[in-house]
Subunit: 306 residues, 2 copies
């Protein structure tokens, strides 16, 4: 799958991923109204609204981008109805040949991590049948529980040719509270980065590993260091746009081959129509605003890398 | 909710929680067969099998115990069908007046943590209605992203009078890889424990805080230290039984009031009928074996605390 991701990045010349993190407040009123008239002001109605919102954004952007990253929390907030739309979104994006990165930040121990891995990336045996649960291409994983929490995910990735992005340094203000603490004189995130490099060393699809890392856009110097510590890991970079990261800050997240990073924007793209720059589109044409925002982001990153 | 948990622990004299972590391989053949004959060897069939399994165990043990802890990964592995049974299990246990600890180990930043908190502990606004998603009483949370990832969960707990157990020191062999690393001469888990104590300080329901911690049974000395660092935090203790922890190892996880800890056993109870000690019950009476295993665990912990 890392192969496919790289090919698609090269084809689109867009090392970007659209974060499908729909808040109900992002969904234009006409879509909410229609969904509520059909399913009521219920979890089902809310789920239908975000599904229609997602679908239109995907339809208007899929040819420009290699990948999407649905944030499962935004679906989980609507309970089972929301999770059904998460699954529907994953399947729809895969049908459009997009690489789907499930931003699920799961992580547990042994058999529990194995269950998460089976549900998100692999398969389960039911009687004599093989069944698949949520079936994303990549997922994000939390490393706090150490190697034996990560290994079950890696095993499934190996079997399924799928991949992981492991949290190393997150984009939020208090990420430093634990991640930056010095261990033997070096921040914890560097140790986690080294582990990611080790875990991924044996699982390369060409020049890059299946096992990538999450490093926030908001800490460019950290990105530079971690790029060197994990030369073969793709870096998934959240925090671009709404969280403050800019293209020029991200140049060191890439390797000299122009690859090695994929930059996420969520709100900046899916709720673009709410920004002054794209207001002319209006809520009715929200997905055209998203397309314009994708084009601007591609351009920003292109200039930064040149 | 910490109030209710304490009251129920006192009433049952059982500081234990039954981990409803059903693997399909734990479910006796007669239940699997019936479920598959109705729903096929499908995700739906698997989900039905684990639902019937759970229900019978809850029916046979609910009067002895204060709480259950369904591990969501075991449901998530069966995709949406599994998650429906997670929700059904949560609702059923609440209808039996059990305290439900959703073992979900979620954790993210700002608005994403807020979405998880809304989905698992709180509510969402849909049009003019208030709706509830998964609606557990407590959940487990991962601290790697720091305070601003935890705060949104605490806000919802405050509003809903619900609670958290934050991962501090997990029970798995490689938990030490990051959690034990020395920061200013002290293991990282102590720093996390201090944060848990701080986060919880303002949110007490009587003598204990809404904000608890997870500390594995497999590291008794660590439990002793962390008990002192977080005097007002309830400790959720995994790793008893199948993972090697015993009652006598856990005495220091409790405060002098005999409270402050709740010990989880999953496989040791729900798959008790597979152990030699309970084989006499046979697969048909698997839930009676679970009841006997609960009684033995209560006794073991009682002896340890005396």
């Amino acid at each position: 799958m890392i192969h496919k991701l790289i090919q698609k990045i090269q084809k689109t010349d867009a090392p970007i991923v659209v974060g499908l993190d729909p808040m109900l407040s992002y969904v234009p009123e006409h879509i909410q109204k229609k969904a509520f008239s059909e399913f009521g002001e219920t979890l089902e109605g809310a789920a239908e609204a975000i599904w229609q919102f997602n679908k239109e954004i995907v339809d208007k952007t899929y040819d420009l981008i290699p990948a999407v990253k649905p944030q499962i929390a935004m679906y989980e907030q609507f309970g089972i109805e929301g999770l059904k739309v998460y699954k529907k979104t994953v399947d729809y994006c895969r049908s459009k040949d997009l690489v789907v990165i499930g931003d699920v930040k799961r992580g547990d121990i042994g058999s529990t991590s194995a269950a998460y891995a089976a549900g998100h990336l692999g398969k389960v045996q039911v009687g004599s049948n093989i069944c698949r649960g949520l079936d994303e291409d990549f997922i994000t994983v939390n490393p706090y529980l150490g190697s034996d929490g990560i290994k079950p995910f890696i095993d499934v990735c190996k079997e399924e040719k799928k991949g992981l992005f492991i949290l190393v340094k997150t984009s939020n203000p208090s990420s430093g509270e634990f991640q930056d603490r010095l261990v033997d004189g070096r921040p914890l995130y560097e140790l986690v980065g080294e582990k990611v490099a080790q875990w991924g060393a044996d699982f390369c699809g060409g020049s890059y590993s299946y096992i990538g890392a999450v490093v926030g856009a908001t800490y460019p110097e950290t990105g530079k260091t971690l790029r060197k510590i994990m030369p073969k890991s793709f870096i998934l970079v959240p925090g671009y746009g709404a969280q403050g990261g800019k293209g020029k800050d991200l140049v060191h997240y890439f390797n000299e081959d122009g690859l090695g990073a994929i930059v996420n924007s969520s709100r900046g793209i899916i709720a673009a129509y709410k920004q002054e720059a794209y207001q002319k589109f209006g809520p009715e044409n929200f997905a055209d605003a998203s397309r314009a925002a994708v084009e601007a982001m591609i351009q920003d990153l292109k200039e930064a890398r040149n």
